[in-house]
Symmetry: C2
Subunit: 105 residues, 2 copies
């Protein structure tokens, strides 16, 4: 039941890691670990549920459809993304892990 978002991270991260922490009807809580990853060119997330994302460590830039500026998230910053609000990860810090907590609801 107890765990740490900061542990169990492999030294090599060829792909982002998605770990489900809790899953229940209508809610999923997961940890995401990135290092220098970005969404593939032209790819947009378009999700059926709302998603709350928190950057616990590291930093990232998110692009939201129809907004000019990239939303920069650093440690402690969160963003609440409404269902079907198209978004993509433009960049994550290449020098360290970016650890996210994501709650889909």
């Amino acid at each position: 039941m107890k765990g740490s978002l900061l542990e169990g991270i492999p030294s090599e991260l060829p792909e982002e890691i998605f770990d489900t922490i809790c899953s229940a009807e209508r809610v999923k809580i997961e940890r995401i670990v990135s290092r220098g990853h970005a969404s593939p060119e032209g790819f947009w997330y378009d999700q059926e549920r709302n998603e709350f994302v928190l950057v616990v460590r590291g930093s990232a830039g998110l692009r939201l459809e129809n907004e000019d500026d990239i939303v920069v998230l650093k440690s402690g910053d969160y963003l609440n993304i409404g269902a079907h609000m198209k978004h993509r990860v433009e960049w994550t810090d290449p020098t360290c892990e970016t650890i996210w907590l994501a709650v889909q609801y």
Copy 2:
């Protein structure tokens, strides 16, 4: 939509602070800020929903009913508390803010 869990914390904390970040049917996401606070003596939380708690900064000790040992949570540690699992906060760090993210679901 963007916010920071680390900002907007008053210098004095006579009581714990509970800020709702997102609320939807069946889900509530909130920030809790403590400094040296504990649950009142003899008080137990007994909640209808599951609760995921993450310590973002600081540290805390939680007691779960029918468990001998206090669960110590430090930065990055989380605990998933099932509905109606009685629990209480035995202590939080008296020297700095303890910042929690709590998801009731």
